[in-house]
């Protein structure tokens, strides 16, 4: 601050990770690790200086502060900034830090998952399972006098299965679960249930037919399909893209960007959810934000820097993967509010179309709005009923156009099982998504078959 900066912040992080991996019915490895470090950020106007180090020696910290302050050119006064601890909410209570749970209990989970997946069907040929948890402690102090701390545990089990059908056909199934939960979570959501779902997907898609390419009516199963929102609108509402004018949603506040049936919420306060945060990585409490209400764009997702430059307030969306990165506006748990259509009616009304049951992932270009959505388990819909499984389907669209084509929203809201990872600028973060059953008209479906 001796150089005329207007904001400075110190971010300290200590993260311990445990990972256990199973392949070929054996524990392949168990590992634990510790990464700790500090990031010093200095802001002068719109300029940011950042220095990070995994060295906690005082000399290294002073060097980091000097480096970060290089962006401030003016003269200021060097002085101490008293900080006061800010109380933080509690959206997750983890009885025992996951780092303190014995590794043997974690390997037991994936061994059980392996057995269950193999027992599900004789066509299950390979099972790869992993369990990863983190206990992440963060502390943020800044020159506005705020000091806040949080411990963010997360636990995640994932199972990847290959089923072998006739003529060497191989189909994969993938499922996972988790959240900011105590280890006892796995007494309720058993590794068997996770493994069986992965195995079910792989077996169900054996014998799948080629996907017909071209526009179709699609029905999305509830839950994990919330990736659609994450890709089609979520990223485009992040304030850095809005401020820079690189998102097609820039300048559209108050405008109709989706059908009346669409209300999109990003909520960092959902109890024990994977994307929840007591505080973001700038020390701002997580919030529930209505982004789109009945089709009208209501709000963007702000971190502190973009909020300040845009005369707004932070929505508690400033997140970073670790002290090695600058915070960026990011999503937490993003979901579509339920409507009043019964899910069975939504399906019954479709004469011909595609039912999308499970999803691989997605990606978006926030400038032209093009998004894709990879469907790992899909079925033909014929006269309102599910028909044969379809392989290799992908949905593509332009965010606002796809949202305008949402013609039915089910009354069956469902969060995803807790396995989402979002990547932006190379930074990976745990996120949640959620969606009731939804029908979208006239979606371009990618496939190999013409006509």
């Amino acid at each position: 601050m001796g150089r005329g900066a207007d904001f400075a912040e110190v971010y300290v992080e200590r993260t311990s990770t445990t990972a256990v991996v199973l392949e070929e019915q054996r524990i392949r490895s168990a590992q634990v690790g510790l990464v700790q470090g500090v990031g010093v950020r200095v802001i002068a106007g719109a300029k940011v200086g950042y220095a990070w180090s995994d060295d906690w020696e005082e000399a290294a910290l002073v060097r980091a502060a000097r480096t970060a302050a290089m962006i401030a050119q003016g003269g200021g006064s060097e002085r101490a900034y008293p900080v006061k601890r800010v109380p933080v909410p509690s959206h997750y209570r983890v009885a025992q830090a996951l780092e303190d749970v014995a590794v043997a209990r974690k390997t037991a989970l994936i061994t059980r998952a392996d057995k269950a997946a193999r027992a599900f069907d004789s066509r299950i040929q390979q099972v790869n399972a992993s369990y990863v948890d983190q206990t992440r402690r963060i502390a943020v102090a800044n020159t506005t006098g705020r000091f806040s701390e949080d411990t963010q545990d997360q636990s995640r089990l994932s199972v990847h299965v290959v089923a072998l059908g006739k003529n060497g056909e191989r189909r994969t199934g993938m499922y996972g679960s988790g959240g900011r939960v105590s280890f006892s979570y796995w007494d309720g959501v058993t590794p068997e249930s996770v493994a069986e779902e992965a195995a079910r997907q792989a077996v169900a898609t054996l014998g799948a037919v080629d996907c017909v390419a071209g526009p179709q009516t699609v029905v999305l199963a509830p839950g994990w399909s919330g990736i659609l929102l994450h890709e089609a609108v979520g990223h485009g509402l992040e304030a850095d893209f809005i401020r820079k004018g690189t998102s097609l949603f820039a300048g559209k506040l108050g405008e109709k960007v989706a059908s009346d049936l669409v209300t999109v919420i990003d909520d960092g306060t959902v109890s024990s959810a994977r994307g929840s945060i007591n505080i973001d990585d700038e020390g701002v409490p997580g919030e529930r934000k209505v982004l789109i209400e009945n089709g009208v764009l209501k709000s963007y997702l702000y971190d502190q820097l973009n909020a300040k430059l845009m005369n707004q307030r932070s929505t508690g969306s400033g997140r970073r993967e670790s002290f090695k990165s600058l915070p960026l506006p990011r999503m937490t748990n993003t979901f579509l509010a339920p409507g009043d259509h019964a899910p069975e009616d939504i399906l019954k009304e479709v004469k011909r179309g595609l039912y999308c049951a499970t999803f691989g992932g997605g990606q978006v270009d926030i400038s032209n709005g093009n998004f894709v959505f990879e469907v790992s388990e899909a079925y033909q819909i014929e006269d309102g009923k599910l028909g044969r499984p379809v392989k290799n389907a992908i949905l593509i669209g332009v965010g606002p156009e796809a949202l305008k084509n949402i013609s039915r929203v089910g009354c069956d809201p469902m969060p995803d099982p807790g396995m989402g990872i979002c990547v932006k600028d190379g930074q990976m973060l745990p996120v949640g998504v959620g969606l009731p059953t939804v029908r979208i008209d006239n979606v371009t479906v990618g496939g190999t078959k013409v006509g």
Partner: protein
């Protein structure tokens, strides 16, 4: 600090603590980067980092722990943790570090370190980024803004020691420049990007050229719209072809092959593509971004052809998988300090052909020239591929209007068969995977 000595000390401590075999993999680095926007600095980042991963074998049991805490207590703790984890693990005869037979003689990497990059002044990066932005803006008035223009460098050191006789270290430099303009017309925004990433400063494309090319790529997409669903010849530009090649290499991963989870597994020794298709992983490629004397467990790197004149000739292995599959390691153990070695590629590339990209396009009566893909690409297990695509429509051998909101789909094995021409423009654009322009006889394009 002498890190090579430190790695050896860690190994000695592990052996003293009861490890039959032990390995320390240490990384030390520093990085500096700048982003600019509208002629101003947006942010400056400087960092130093280090960490060590300790792998031990106790009675055929594997333990692994890592830390970034280099205090004496921190280093003692990481060794103890690794040994404790091993004691609690299940035994497997397959566990073990590479021995003398695999460690062998190292090949010649040539220079990996450029003092010009290591001593690059902060001003150079700021000026280069500003120059790229200026040139990009001057190239076309339809550039509305920039998402970012950034420049940066890394200096990375790796040290390794093991109880089986592996030891060594190397330092490398990296420098990069990226421009991401956004062009606007009639309410449509289109982004483009262009970048270069090299070990040596003199190899780096000029800031002016990066700015101009990025703008050209953004502007030419303005007015993009879907085309009708149809099966046509498809041409991948070198960036898109590189992502296809990267995808293909996932199916050449020795572990996926061993698990019968690769579409390539049953085809070893068979012809999968024409004679003009040669795909190579080369850990000793001169000036390559991933070039190194040894892999993540001390095994010398080498050149491994995956497709040799169209014939599937080999897969990629680390020591563990090789032991399991009764193969030899190919020096493809890839890792950072915070992970156990796993199979990865080094410098992976599709060898260039003889025709220019213009000739490849000129021979297409009607088709799609793809300049960006959205999605994960092909599934290495089933071989099915379906991706979102952006690009330009080819009509009578000429690039015409821009195309978006379409997908391209096919199957890896059929796509390999359908590679009917490979361009002369091989490039490593922003990474260690390289490819020239590639043309497929036919893919399904799905659109309106």
């Amino acid at each position: 600090m002498n890190y090579e000595q430190l790695a050896k000390k860690i190994v000695q401590r592990a052996v003293k603590k009861g490890a039959k075999q032990a390995e320390a993999y240490l990384e030390v680095g520093r990085t500096s980067s700048v982003r600019v926007r509208e002629g101003q600095i947006e942010d400056l980042t400087e960092a130093t980092s280090k960490g060590v991963g300790v792998r031990v074998i106790v009675k055929d049991r594997l333990g692994f722990a890592y830390t970034s805490d280099f205090t004496t207590a921190g280093l003692e703790r990481v060794v103890d943790l690794a040994v404790q984890l091993a004691e609690a693990a299940a035994p497997s005869k397959l566990n073990g570090l590479p021995g003398a037979k695999d460690l062998g003689k190292r090949g010649d990497t040539g220079a990996l370190f450029d003092p010009k990059v290591a001593n690059l002044p902060g001003d150079w990066k700021i000026n280069a980024a500003l120059e790229a932005e200026r040139a990009g803006r001057a190239q076309d008035s339809r550039v509305a803004t920039f998402d970012s223009v950034s420049a940066g460098d890394f200096v990375a050191e790796v040290y390794l020691a093991s109880s089986e006789g592996a030891s060594g270290g190397y330092s490398g430099t990296y420098v990069y420049l990226v421009a991401v303009p956004v062009a606007s017309q009639d309410g449509q925004l289109q982004t483009g990007y262009w970048l270069d990433y090299k070990r040596f400063l003199d190899d780096l494309e000029s800031p002016e050229s990066i700015g101009r090319e990025a703008t050209k790529r953004a502007v030419r997409m303005l007015g993009a719209k879907p085309v009708k669903t149809q099966q046509v010849p498809v041409v991948f530009d070198p960036l898109v072809a590189a992502s296809f090649v990267g995808n293909l290499s996932q199916a050449a991963n020795g572990n996926a092959v061993y698990q019968q989870s690769s579409v390539l597994a049953p085809h070893v020794g068979k012809r999968l593509a024409g004679k003009h298709v040669t795909l190579v992983d080369d850990g000793l490629l001169p000036r390559g971004l991933a070039t190194a004397p040894f892999d993540g467990e001390g095994v010398p790197t080498r050149r491994t052809p995956i497709l040799d004149g169209g014939v599937l000739s080999g897969f990629l292995y680390d020591a563990f998988t090789a032991r399991k599959a009764k193969a030899r390691t190919t020096g493809n153990a890839s890792r950072g300090y915070s992970a156990l070695p796993g199979i990865g590629t080094t410098n992976l590339y599709l060898e260039k052909g003889t025709k220019t990209p213009e000739e490849l396009i000129r021979e297409v009566p009607q088709g799609l020239y793809v300049t960006a893909l959205l999605g994960h690409g092909a599934d290495p297990v089933s071989g099915d591929m379906s991706c979102g695509a952006n690009g330009l429509w080819i009509e009578n051998g000429e690039l015409t209007h821009p195309v978006q909101e379409v997908t391209v789909a096919g199957h890896l094995l059929q796509m390999l068969k359908d590679v009917d021409a490979v361009g002369s423009d091989l490039q490593f654009r922003g990474g260690s995977v390289g490819a020239p322009t590639v043309r497929f006889r036919q893919l399904t394009v799905s659109g309106a």
